[in-house]
Symmetry: C2
Subunit: 558 residues, 2 copies
């Protein structure tokens, strides 16, 4: 992951835009915003940093080697019903997959180095002991692999781009990694209906670029798009930035081709938006995190790409006003609203400190929001957005704000939101919670957590305190809060204050302890805070039904 | 159902708008369209006619009594594992539900009259032999009823507004009807997040009117909205008119409260848009047609209501041009496009004959389309729509068209689309198929079917031919075709030509034999045309898992 050690260029130019200018010049609030931040160069060899990191266990290690998950979680024991990997197994896989590089064999030869990227996650938090990585090229090969593994009780881990945040895509013990990277063909695209059919291993950005040429858009976007694969996106029900506008994958995915543990190919690769012929089984695989089968292909409805994009960034004095602004944005911007992001003042202050740069607007505000509109007519959208901004300024819902004038400025404003996760890791480690909370109380958790840690004497400005600050940001439009606690060092006392406090707080409000990141290993033990015993029992029935031998992605999920 | 016998007022006023006027007056194509049709008065006592009737079995009976399903389908035998209804059962239900009216008892007293509306469907095609109808008022009561029925092997039929088109909501033999009409409370609505939580028995129109007051919209609309219930809508995964814009219920339903056959209450009534904590089990109940449990409550994401609405109606010379117009509408109208409906020339010709009125545009065109836009700014939307119309006229994609000037005209244009199903029943009966077909071949089926029936000598203008015509219309935006064959009388030869021809045709193109109406009894035997044996086997596993005694809505679905 991008650490804090990279060189960050300061703000190059910046035009000041005062609150009064906005308030009074009712028809002229288009100040130029020109900030430019270079990317942290150390990040380039790694997957692009996802929108926000997740998981709560421990802190990032700066050591060269990553701690084994079996050391971090000594309570997890290897399931003794699983067979041990033998030379004959590897021989079978080599014969099946043909090409040498399709099998990384750490059993019969020393391939530790080669295996490492598949054994550990990009956050350097989880590391498995897999000895074999398989890279099938077809659904048929996946079917044969799974049938063989099931017959021989060999546990497996399906792996896409391995950009997950909860340790779901790497092995714990010696599970066989089945990596989908070679299944990367776009199978078809219908320009009339907008339906794309593609292999699971297609990289999200590749799919989106392909669609861009055809004036369409993949209805999902997230920070890791340059590395993550669409099969993994579906398997983890990724949320991301476009959910507010285009809805969730449960609505957009029209079909799935998946292989069940016994080798059965479930061909449900419908290209139809309407198909009421029986239970919608594919939905179980969306967010199933590879525990009941491996997704090998998807068909997905892709909307028309918007021609026009506008972005505004503004400061507000209370969370009450943030809610008012959100309601007003939904009301006035309605069909063109494509993002409504929240950043608290503390997150923006830390961003400013770490980046050694000024924020796009003057003064300090307790809350900042970023609004994006996407539509088919630049003039119309600009007019709507200006009218909205005028209104919220006049009503004193918003204190100050700026509107991007071109693509560069759009990126610069987005950097104020997207730069937050990286910024927070500047001091060492971050406790990160990805939560859904009923919108009215969304931010209360941040205040309550800060108060609790402060009372415990753990928060302060100098090095004697482990905690730097307690901040909140996220997808306001989806009631999705990222609670982050940047820390200077690992301190058991901090963890003790945080857990189970945060989970209990969320459970009391019927929130979700994992809004978009999934369960994986990180949250497996906490599902009870978001789901009733009845629900968990019903889920276990599904797992047992599809994967009676439990070979699929064991030690994780539920 | 609305028969053809009602008095229909002729067109009152109409302003002619020629093709040439459109083509040349590039900035002035807003001719007034003023048609007024009164509703068929015989329809008022029945549920509002759904968007299109479905089912293929037989023709509508004009007799006073409806044929028992057991007579129409003599091959269906009563499951002997089900217990017979006894006085002690009725006693239990009466004690549980309290109020006398909660139990209509045809066993110990003569209440046959009262049972009729619950035993038969509004199309008068299906009729069961139920002796008991239960109307629980709470989830707890539903739970107790189901547990009791499961323990005593009493089969049940969940029933909402009973507006279905495939016989799914009425009993076949003596199944107990569990009608949700008394569970009709709106539980909560959050104006910031737009999340509505309501009992399953709330009528769709009531929910939508409630939301309208709060400037929101129910993300589903269909002809039966005045009678159908939201629980039934979810159980059948209703599609309808707003899917193009707002997506399917799989994306919009955020939570479900359902009772399983053993009385377990599955409380998955989340109000969160993002919640990645385990398998999304509620999805199995969306479109599950009441075969694994009874939905008692739902939470659903409701978008902001659009302030502006515009409707255009136009004629085109080929299906190729219809597709071009659709692509262009998606491209230019993008985020404001809320409907793109297709009607073939024959359907509009029959409409014109039956309604004794002229169509909104002159001449005869092989195809007609209706476009609706919904947005937040009337001027902007009007400008976009005008620009679009100019373009498609200039490019000769569209031959002629009109644009509604006010709400009355909007309704009048919509009547050209919504009046079609009623029109087609004018001659006696209609064979109706609700299909999803890849968009490029969507209309080919209508031509192929017409050719086949014509070759067989069954289609003609006078009474010696059973078939009046073969027409197609539907939701172009969703690739959803309604293939309709209006007939003068029942003729075995027609059915023989149609089946399995239609199903095989659709299966060959990987279409769906039930796009939005579901399976019920009508299509139970035909699922194999849209689903593989593997998929059906997997579905049966789910049924057996949740309902091992098979008491839920038997003899239907899969």
């Amino acid at each position: 992951m991008a650490s804090s050690s990279g060189v960050i260029a300061p703000i190059l130019r910046r035009t000041r835009c005062s609150s009064s200018l906005y308030k009074r010049a009712s028809r002229s609030f288009q100040p130029a915003v020109q900030i430019r931040w270079t990317a942290n160069t150390s990040a380039t060899t790694e997957p692009r940093q996802p929108d926000s990191a997740g998981g709560v266990k421990g802190l990032k290690s700066s050591a060269k080697t990553i701690k084994y998950t079996t050391d971090s979680y000594p309570e997890i024991k290897r399931d003794s019903s699983f067979g041990g990997l033998k030379d004959e197994h590897v021989k079978y896989f080599k014969e099946l997959l043909g090409a040498e590089s399709a099998v990384i064999d750490g059993l019969s030869q020393d391939a530790t180095e080669d295996l490492e990227p598949f054994n550990s996650d990009w956050m350097r938090k989880y590391r498995g002991h897999a000895k074999v990585v398989l890279k099938p090229k077809s659904t048929e090969q996946v079917s044969k692999i799974l049938k063989y593994c099931n017959d021989n009780r060999l546990a497996v881990v399906p792996q896409g781009g391995n950009t997950g945040l909860v340790g779901g895509s790497v092995p714990v013990f010696d599970e066989i990694v089945i990596n989908l990277q070679r299944m990367n063909n776009i199978r078809s695209f219908d320009e009339v209906s907008g339906v794309l059919v593609a292999d699971a291993g297609v990289i999200l950005e590749v799919a989106d670029n392909f669609l861009a040429e055809k004036n369409h858009i993949f209805p999902l976007d997230l920070g890791a798009k340059g590395s993550c694969q669409i099969g993994g996106n579906v398997a983890t029900n990724a949320g991301g930035l476009r959910l507010l506008r285009y809805g969730s994958l449960h609505g957009n995915v029209l079909g799935i081709e998946a292989v069940l543990p016994d080798g059965t190919v479930m061909n449900d690769l419908s290209k139809l938006r309407k198909n009421n012929t029986g239970y919608d089984l594919k939905q179980l695989f969306i967010g199933g995190e590879g525990t009941i089968g491996i997704i090998t292909g998807i068909s997905i409805f892709c909307p028309q790409r918007s021609q026009a994009q506008n972005v505004a960034y503004f400061g507000l004095e209370s969370f009450e006003k943030v809610q008012q602004a959100f309601v007003e944005a939904k009301n006035q911007l309605s069909e063109i609203l494509s993002a409504f992001e929240l950043m608290d003042g503390r997150s923006q202050r830390l961003l400013s400190i770490v980046k050694e740069s000024k924020l796009p607007i003057e003064g300090e505000h307790p809350f900042y929001c970023l609004i994006e509109t996407s539509g088919s007519n630049t003039d119309h959208d600009g007019e709507k957005l200006e009218k909205f901004l005028e209104y919220v300024m006049e009503q004193e819902i918003v204190s100050d704000g700026v509107l991007a004038q071109d693509k560069t400025q759009i990126n610069e404003l987005w950097a104020c939101r997207e730069g937050v996760p990286e910024t927070l890791s500047h001091w060492g480690g971050v406790y990160k919670y990805d939560l859904s909370i009923p919108i009215k109380e969304l931010y209360t958790l941040v205040d309550d957590t800060r108060e609790k840690l402060t009372k415990a004497g753990l928060v302060g400005d100098d090095d004697s305190y482990p905690v730097v600050d307690v901040v909140g940001y996220g997808h306001m439009g989806d009631s999705n809060l990222h609670l982050n606690i940047p820390t200077r060092r690992f301190d058991k006392a901090v963890e003790k204050e945080l857990e189970p406090f945060v989970y209990e707080w969320v459970a009391k409000r019927n929130g979700s302890i994992s809004a978009e990141h999934g369960l994986g290993i990180a949250k497996k033990d906490f599902i009870g805070y978001s789901r009733t015993e009845t629900m968990i029992k019903l889920m276990k029935q599904i797992k047992d039904l599809y994967d009676p031998n439990g070979i699929m992605n064991p030690y994780k999920y539920i």
